[in-house]
């Protein structure tokens, strides 16, 4: 049984390792999040926005040419068709409604590639709430279009200049902002990471993905269960959403695809389940990449959404307990899949999602298997990278 206990542990992973300064805010959330999420008016408003604003349900699409190529039934869960182009908005819609109910007047968020930042800026504009997004100085330079989108939406983008100036440091800066503004601010974390209750709360908001899969698969295949679900994992929010309703259906194989960067052994990688060990990052006991002395190592991947040095505690537990199978995919393999899928199906996937497609080359399956790939985001944001490498792959 995969469950979370009332202290926020999935097995040995999770908890809330936070400085006392954060305790009142995190404790307030812990006490109220389930009650708020269970409230009928909250559910109604959440579902209505997911339908009318985000465009849910997202289609489950049988990819015929891919299926023929790989000799299996391959379905794509089209999170790329959501407003703002990825699954991220499922969570930010949920959290902005929650923040309103907590009476918060100011929203902060961290972002790596900028997808979560854009999704947060979007819902803040929707609700007329002040929004500050922390983004590593290095990421601001390499993700200029998303920085522009956030500004267009009225958010303030603050550069994180500490440490390695990327996602990990943007998260540190957001946490520090929360420490300095304990009363009026809600922190919208973008993945299933951070102190309890964040991993569980974000997983619940993202669980709409697998909730729809249940009936969509029943409609299209006659069974609720696929044989295999494949999703990419950085922090792990799209995977958590795609797995959620199948966590305790042991007959469904869960594949967690991590970014190997230049190769797992290259020293330039983000394959946390292979390279990581137990430790604490951003308030959660989980697997993370670190030195023997516990200093956090900066990961590398071509995909800015996967280069996080940890994984959510749910995924640490799923992988360590054998429930989920980790697969590592290099930059090169992911790029090859991105070009291949684009020309086979007419869908340009995000670089993160391209890693999930590459798993089809690595895992064993039968020709009768129904495989769902969570198509977590679209590739518009990655066009510059795709164009840069295009000639090498054609």
């Amino acid at each position: 049984m995969i469950t979370i206990d009332n202290k926020g542990y999935y097995g040995e992973f999770g908890g809330a390792f936070i400085p006392e300064m954060l305790h009142p805010n995190v404790e307030e959330l812990r006490q109220l999040y389930l009650e708020i999420m269970d409230d009928e008016t909250f559910k109604k408003e959440f579902q209505q926005l997911l339908r009318d604003y985000v465009g849910r349900p997202s289609p489950l699409y049988l990819a015929e040419r891919l299926s023929a190529h790989y000799n299996a039934s391959i379905y794509l869960k089209r999170e790329d068709l959501n407003h703002t182009g990825a699954h991220k908005i499922n969570n930010t819609i949920g959290q902005i409604l929650l923040a309103q109910r907590l009476g918060k007047k100011r929203i902060i968020a961290e972002t790596g590639a900028g997808q979560h930042g854009v999704a947060t800026a979007t819902v803040c504009a929707l609700k007329g709430i002040k929004c500050i997004v922390y983004m590593g100085e290095v990421d601001i330079k390499r993700q200029a279009p998303n920085v522009a989108r956030m500004k267009m939406l009225g958010a303030e983008v603050r550069p994180a200049r500490s440490g390695s100036k990327t996602l990990k440091d943007a998260t540190n800066e957001a946490i520090r902002d929360w420490i300095n503004n304990p009363e009026d601010t809600h922190y919208i974390i973008g993945s299933v990471v951070g102190p309890h209750p964040y991993p569980d709360m974000v997983a619940r908001f993202q669980s709409v993905i697998s909730e729809e899969m249940l009936w969509q698969l029943l409609d299209q295949t006659g069974k609720e269960d696929p044989d295999i679900i494949i999703a990419c994992v950085g922090g792990g929010s799209n995977a958590a959403g795609a797995y959620y309703h199948y966590l305790n259906r042991e007959q469904v194989r869960l594949i967690a695809v991590e970014a190997a960067g230049l190769g797992v052994e290259s020293g330039e990688s983000a394959a946390t389940s292979v390279l990581g060990s137990k430790g604490i990052i951003h308030g959660s006991r989980t697997l993370l990449m670190q030195t023997p002395d516990g200093q956090i190592i900066e990961p590398y991947s071509i995909s800015a959404g996967l280069d996080y040095p940890g994984i959510g505690p749910l995924h640490a537990h799923l992988i360590k307990s054998g429930r989920a199978e980790p697969v590592s995919i290099t930059d090169k393999e992911a790029l090859a899949s991105a070009y291949f899928v684009s020309q086979k199906e007419g869908i340009i996937p995000a670089l993160e999602t391209a890693h999930a497609f590459s798993a089809l080359e690595k895992i064993k399956y039968n020709s009768t298997d129904v495989i769902v790939i969570n198509l977590s985001g679209r590739g518009d944001k990655d066009l510059e990278t795709y164009i840069k490498h295009y000639d090498k792959f054609h």
């Binding site: 936070i18 300064m21 200093q295």
Partner: protein, 293 residues
């Protein structure tokens, strides 16, 4: 199980006071407890990051602080992601790590300091560092090199009580927990129960080095805490940087902790001893000296 439990209960009830077990030696106080039993006010605790400005600055810094009349020294274990600290301390940590500081090296340096210093030493760092060292190994090593207390800001009260309290107590280490203006009275009482040594009272909702000066709102918070009659003494930290803020802090607590301001003073110094003597003199100022005399 039932039988043996019954036997045990009967035996204990009928026995005279049990002499089989070592009675905790309540007479022997730790260096930190000794300090607070002898001195009730104007206590000055100074923080520095080990390995900054130079890898081998540790000994000179501690001896200089002791010579300058500082009461307690908080030794920071440099960390890549210090969530509760501001930019000054994070940058000093990055320099220290770049200089090559590791926990093993720090323990060696501290062991060497103990031969020539008796000032209470507190180790401050993040719990991941302790976990990777191995919790039991870490606590034992602390005790063996002569560390007196710990401050681990991201070790939650729940985890401490459930898993580490016994280990830390058996190692004979004191531990300080933090309270902030937002900490509820019930939680403050709980923290007071679990703390040994002193409570680290965060002066404001902030990261270290973030805010300057002390406001009326903060003073109301200090007074509220004073009225609670807590069993542990309190040191005020965050935002204390000079004589003015130090003496205000000392009016409302047993003393204060200074970190970022001292790190700034050490930045670019050519003479650690002189910088330290001047810094401490600046903080203590004439008023405090006159009061002590």
């Amino acid at each position: 199980m039932v039988l043996s439990t019954g036997y045990w209960v009967t035996r204990t009830k009928n026995s005279l006071p049990n002499t089989h077990y070592p009675i905790p030696n309540t007479q022997k106080m730790s260096r930190i407890q000794q300090l607070f039993s002898e001195k009730k006010e104007n206590i000055l605790n100074i923080y520095f990051t080990a390995g900054f400005p130079k890898l081998d600055s540790t000994k000179e810094i501690i001896l200089s602080l002791e010579e300058a009349g500082v009461d307690l020294v908080e030794v920071g274990m440099p960390y890549s992601d210090p969530l509760a600290d501001g930019p000054t301390i994070q940058q000093s940590g990055q320099v220290a790590l770049k200089n090559g500081m590791t926990l093993d090296l720090l323990f060696e340096q501290l062991e060497a300091v103990r031969n020539s210093s008796s000032i209470p030493l507190i180790l401050m760092g993040y719990f991941n560092q302790v976990m990777q060292y191995g919790e039991q190994n870490f606590f034992t090593r602390c005790k063996n090199v002569g560390i007196d207390g710990l401050i681990l800001p991201d070790l939650p009260v729940y985890e401490y009580e459930t898993y580490y309290k016994t280990m830390i107590e058996e190692a004979g280490l004191d531990i300080s927990f933090l309270i902030t203006p937002q900490t509820s009275p019930e939680r403050i009482k709980k923290i007071d129960e679990l703390t040994s040594g002193f409570i680290y009272m965060v002066s404001n909702s902030s990261i270290t080095g973030a805010k300057k000066g002390i406001s009326d709102k903060q003073i109301a918070y200090f007074n509220r805490i004073n009225k609670m009659n807590l069993s542990n003494p309190r040191l005020l930290g965050f935002g204390i940087s000079n004589h003015e803020t130090f003496s205000t802090a000392c009016q409302y607590a047993n003393g204060a902790i200074i970190g970022s301001a001292y790190i700034n003073a050490l930045n670019n110094t050519k003479d650690i001893n002189r910088t330290t003597m001047e810094f401490v003199e600046m903080v203590k100022g004439q008023a405090i000296d006159a009061k002590i005399l």
